[in-house]
């Protein structure tokens, strides 16, 4: 007869051992690489070949690349500052539009889906199985000179002649971002709204609230954490996006921070500057995440959860 208590202490080691391969994997391919980015950004370059020479010893780190980045960020009108502000504007507009689309759709399906819910959910999940790049390709087809968008706009009479939508227009890039990222916002919103207890709404109605008041006073405040989560889920990857503007605009006029990073890292010249840009982007996103964590905690507290 085995002693029932015998396994408890040893069991912990067993479970830790089970987690070990995954933990080692994450250390090797997620944590270590971040240190390498720092070492490259704070290292030097080979004087002739311009290849980066990472500096592993923190005591010998040089801040040249960061000085270059900050100079570009904080002297007004300089390259990095323009690109950073543009990225911020694109992400803010695209996120706001996504929320305006995602919330009503998620709300309708969660509350009124009824027997069509399964089918509607298939429609929501479908974009997850279609490659992002294919969805951008679909819009390249539609937006080209002789594409269907121009056909429709000319036919309705909004424009006299076809426009070139793929030639550095912010509107095309923002359309692409919204189209690309909105499914990632709808799904978490749906999952959350679906869990809201309907008896709360019935209570609000019984106490004399109109349907709109019930929504404004009950559903909307309750879904605040989900709205914040949805914003974070799509805004973070948008800050690192370079392919949407490359495919739908190709012009330096709509270049985002991701394009700059891609240029420095994959272009081969001044890789430390690219690495420094990545670090700055990460710090900026960490601040955003911190704000998110604080506001979610506050929202939970207000709801007494």
């Amino acid at each position: 007869m085995p002693d029932p208590d015998r396994g408890v202490g040893r069991g912990n080691a067993f479970w830790a051992g089970l987690a070990l391969p995954g933990v080692v994997w994450l250390c090797l391919f997620f944590l270590l690489p971040f240190y390498v980015i720092l070492c490259v950004a704070l290292g030097s370059v080979h004087p002739i070949f311009q290849t980066p020479r990472p500096e592993w010893n923190p005591l010998l780190w040089r801040t040249g690349a960061f000085e270059f980045v900050f100079e570009g960020l904080f002297s007004s009108g300089a390259g990095f500052q323009k690109v950073f502000l543009r990225t911020f504007a694109y992400v803010a507009i695209a996120t706001a539009l996504s929320l305006l689309i995602a919330y009503p759709v998620a709300y309708f399906i969660a509350r009124f889906g009824g027997r069509w819910k399964g089918l509607l959910l298939v429609g929501l999940i479908a974009p997850f199985f279609i490659s992002y790049l294919m969805r951008m390709l679909a819009w390249i087809n539609l937006l080209q000179d002789d594409g269907w968008v121009n056909d429709v706009l000319v036919w309705i009479g909004i424009f006299d002649e076809p426009r070139n939508w793929l030639d550095g227009r912010a509107s095309s890039v923002i359309l692409g971002l919204v189209y690309g990222y909105v499914p990632f916002m709808i799904l978490p919103l749906y999952a959350f709204l679906d869990r809201i207890d309907r008896s709360l709404l019935e209570a609000a109605r019984d106490l004399g609230a109109s349907p709109f008041e019930a929504f404004r006073l009950v559903t909307l405040p309750l879904s605040m954490p989900a709205i914040l989560a949805g914003i974070v889920i799509i805004a973070l990857p948008m800050f690192g996006d370079y392919y949407t503007t490359d495919l739908l605009s190709q012009s330096p006029q709509t270049s985002m921070i991701g394009n700059q990073i891609f240029l420095y890292i994959r272009g081969g010249q001044q890789i430390p500057v690219g690495a420094a840009l990545v670090v700055v982007l990460m710090l900026f996103l960490t601040v955003l995440m911190g704000y998110y964590v604080v506001s979610t905690a506050r929202a939970h507290r207000r709801l007494g959860g």
Binding site: A16, F30, L121, I261
Partner: protein
């Protein structure tokens, strides 16, 4: 007018404006894809004027079809190769990680969960840069190309397995293993005979997700590619989408989408089968829809 007032004051009626809005959204999200698929079957070279139907861009064109343009079918095979490797490595690694991190009581468990969650919110361009630099400067024995790309795919898809399996584990609770242990099973036997069989549906679901996100991935595949030979389908779409597009690119995207859907459908049927055999309830769609980071907190 009276009808509108009646509809407005009926608290249980469906809001028609929202219904219309949802329909418009679904049309807007699906129709561009259908149009892109339609032009992959175009007989002519245009991607905006219907010019009859044919399989020219899949099979028949002597130079530019998927069958005859090596760049295109190489990309398709590379995508499938990476997705297969990703599923085969990530699923066992992730299931073990999820079980370990859920049952292990210690400070390391919480930290490890936080690190996994960090991979979820790290933009891909950051992870791509980080992995590129690590393979070039530290782990130099790993060459850029298939192996590096596969490592990247495994790293960012690990967290999805963790979320799905951990969600299921929290729902199951520790009682079944405790019962098995009371009946004399060793720790390993309890894991193998009691816990793992209950995790089969979650394992199948995570395999589908890993396959789909690996097929979808662009940034990591591009950063860690060693050249045209290791370009995946999304990388090919990116590099020729604006410069030299033909309907063959639409055909490539359509074929990739078809393959992804077939794998997802087979996986879904398998999931339903194992779920029914194990007496589970609920809808798979609702399960996938509920996929969020909640269990990690």
């Amino acid at each position: 007018m009276a009808r509108i007032r009646e509809w407005w004051s009926n608290p249980w009626g469906k809001p028609r404006f929202l219904a219309l809005f949802t329909m418009l959204y679904l049309v807007w999200s699906i129709v561009p894809i259908l149009i892109a698929i339609r032009f992959s079957f175009n007989d002519g070279r245009s991607r905006s004027t219907a010019q009859g139907w044919s399989l020219r861009w899949y099979l028949d064109d002597p130079d530019l079809s998927i069958r005859n343009d090596p760049d295109l079918h190489t990309a398709l095979f590379q995508s499938l190769r990476l997705a297969t490797i990703a599923v085969l490595v990530t699923v066992p690694l992730g299931v073990a990680l999820a079980i370990g991190l859920t049952r292990w009581r210690g400070r390391g468990a919480g930290t490890s969960r936080a690190v996994s969650l960090a991979t979820l919110v790290t933009p891909e361009i950051v992870m791509g840069t980080a992995l590129l630099l690590v393979f070039v400067h530290v782990l130099t024995f790993i060459p850029l190309g298939t192996i590096a790309q596969a490592i990247g795919h495994i790293t960012f898809s690990l967290v999805f397995v963790l979320i799905i399996v951990r969600g299921r584990l929290l729902a199951i609770g520790p009682e079944y293993e405790e019962a098995a242990r009371d009946l004399g099973a060793t720790q390993f036997q309890a894991l193998r005979l009691a816990l793992l069989p209950m995790l089969v549906p979650a394992t199948v679901a995570s395999a589908i997700i890993v396959f789909a996100i690996s097929m979808d991935d662009f940034v990591i595949s591009q950063f860690l590619s060693s050249g045209t030979a290791t370009d995946t389908v999304p990388v090919r779409i990116y590099s020729t989408g604006r410069t030299a597009p033909t309907p063959a690119l639409n055909a490539l995207a359509t074929l990739t989408l078809g393959l992804t859907l077939v794998v997802a459908l087979v996986g879904y049927l398998l999931w339903r089968g194992v779920r029914a055999a194990r007496g589970g309830t609920g809808s798979a769609l609702q399960d996938f829809a509920a996929l969020d980071a909640e269990p990690l907190r």
